[in-house]
Symmetry: C2
Subunit: 379 residues, 2 copies
């Protein structure tokens, strides 16, 4: 392992547990990312000493110089992942090595320090174990874990930060859909503003991808849509517009391919403009394993809005869903685009299609340990 | 004035000066953005109460929740501006209302709170006045001022931060070129990665524009170039590649236009992909006022690399320079592009061309109050 990737060392972890553990919130009061567990795990890095001693401490504010790089030049990247409690009380993570790998990739893209992934995985597991009382029981509930890496050097020159901080915090999250089951949402597909661009950072989980999306999402919401479907392609030429991501999810379209008359599950390719979602990858792998034997095709390719529209008009559009850590899958009722509303295959009183529903069950079964699978790691 | 733009109120400023003023650094030890003055001026905002009471306090660390929006989603924007000491000892700002206007525009693009620009200008002037002992005397020296606005709400939902902090810090800066005069630099023009794109945030001074540029700049530096010239256009089609910015400066090209045989100063248009530089604007205005009467044309238009190359080959390329707050203008010796080196009009032992040199003098004369001009504001 090269020097750059050495450390931190999980064996050096210093544990200083809180003397005043907080009360757990009732599970019906859990709001995503709004309340946090008892501790923070953090490890500092600087260019002279490399990674320092990891510390687990009571959750507390960070103290940073007002000139710290993160405040000025967005030296920040993160991950979002969940810990689950299975029926036997085991604590499980879902493909955590993928999140840690992606964090390392994001970090290096924005000149933040690389780290030894196996070591950070062990720190993550230890943090999760110590915070396990915060994992609400029951399907749909989880502890959302947020590894974060920021540049801390107080220096306004636009250059590689010579100090950084990696930290892990966590927030218990409820069953987003409550007891009522899934709810299909309506999207607005827009080509301006643009979320990401070839040669940009759309495939990295860096902070700079997020703040610029808020105003457009609010405006879309005010027009009655739940999420934005981000398109790429000339805003003046609808025929050139193709899908990238929806909100903070990847998008999947199930249709009957017009050439082969075959059922096909399609999603945008990893061309640098979309996040390489871990749920996306899981959906693709499960589809290969379980849908292909049923006669489905599974395809990563550029999907144009005109193709979706045409499939809907010709009755070939079966279902559409978003895929991400927050909801696993989110069924989509309609997409508003170019002055038209594209109905995505659901009947009026139907909230979720068969493929979307199966995907949710398959992935949840793994996450909650009901199907034994290598993706689910007991900590 | 709408409610959104109300506040902060400069008249409420609470001043708590340091009891331990720092020693000034010798001017030859000043490094851009590395040392800071005695105080920080800050004012908090939240969605319930709006802008709070502005405070001037001893320079100190910020204490922020690890879930604060700025650490995760890059809710951060800033300005860079300078205060100068003129020969009479007056303190001067250069077009400060332009910076404050741009900060407001940047803030609103990334869902941070808007503010009353006249009030923030007054706070800025007061801060500058209190820190005036930090402004080094002499041409080329200045106090670099960094107004910054960050989202502080501890909430991981990707949404508008409900709390924010506006703050001003400052760093004394030396004469970048020392006593040796200007130094021409060599650029590498690259089309991948891409700094900004249509529909993005390239025209806003938001943090997310900066972190993704570091690795490319380092790689370019390792190949022997001082700065990156960021291009837009298909990386595979050199003929389609056009200039946007250089490093963190706008780019100006002086050439003889091949159609009209007229001397022309051209720069990229404000099409959303480049920062609307205040130095850029000043260069354009001064060129209109002082070069046009000498027979020059001044043009904002898309400039293709093939045009620059052709002008160089035909002996029509007069000079090229970057323009920005840090250096005012920075002469450019050569641009490496598409496997070729384009020589930008300077002779071998020449570090700066006439237009570049005149622009520097004209703008500095105004900044240091040697030419009386409405752009220079005595505080």
């Amino acid at each position: 392992m090269s020097a750059v990737f050495a450390g931190p060392d999980h064996a050096q972890l210093v544990i200083n547990k809180t003397q005043a553990p907080k009360d757990l919130l009732p599970t019906d009061q859990l709001k995503f990312g709004a309340s946090f567990t008892d501790h923070i795990l953090s490890v500092a890095w600087d260019s002279t000493h490399g990674w320092g001693i990891p510390k687990l401490e009571p959750y507390k504010a960070l103290s940073l110089d007002p000139a710290a790089a993160v405040f000025h030049y967005a030296f920040c990247c993160f991950e979002g992942m969940k810990a689950y409690k299975d029926a036997k009380g085991n604590v499980r993570l879902f493909r955590p090595e993928k999140n840690i790998r992606r964090l390392n990739t994001s970090a290096q893209r924005i000149a933040l320090p690389a780290f030894d992934e196996a070591e950070v995985l062990k720190l993550l597991a230890k943090f999760t174990e110590i915070e396990s009382r915060w994992i609400p029981e029951g399907r749909g509930f989880a502890l959302y874990i947020r590894p974060t890496l920021i540049g801390t050097e107080p220096d306004l020159s636009v250059s590689r930060p010579q100090s950084a901080l990696l930290y892990i915090i966590a927030s218990p999250v409820g069953n987003y859909f409550g007891t009522s089951g899934m709810k299909a949402i309506s999207l607005e597909a827009i080509s301006t503003p643009v979320r990401a661009w070839p040669g940009g950072v759309g495939d990295k989980k860096v902070g700079g991808n997020y703040a610029p999306t808020i105003v457009a999402a609010e405006q879309s919401h005010a027009r009655g849509f739940q999420q934005v479907l981000w398109l790429l392609g000339d805003p003046k030429v609808p025929e050139q517009q193709y899908i990238t991501e929806v909100g903070t999810m990847n998008l999947f379209v199930a249709w009957i391919d017009h050439e082969s008359n075959t059922k096909e599950l399609v999603t945008a390719p990893l061309d640098g403009t979309i996040l390489p979602g871990i749920t996306r990858d899981s959906v693709l792998e499960l589809a290969q394993e379980r849908l292909v034997p049923q006669g489905w095709r599974v395809t990563e390719k550029r999907v144009y809005m005109t193709e979706i529209k045409e499939a809907a008009e010709q009755g070939r559009l079966l279902e559409v869903f978003g895929a991400g850590t927050a909801l696993i899958v989110n069924p989509i009722r309609s997409i508003s685009w170019n002055g038209q509303v594209i109905h995505c295959g659901l009947k009026k009183d139907q909230e979720v299609g068969d493929i979307t529903s199966s995907m949710k069950d398959w992935i949840e079964d793994i996450q909650y340990g009901e199907t034994e699978h290598a993706w689910s790691v007991v900590v």
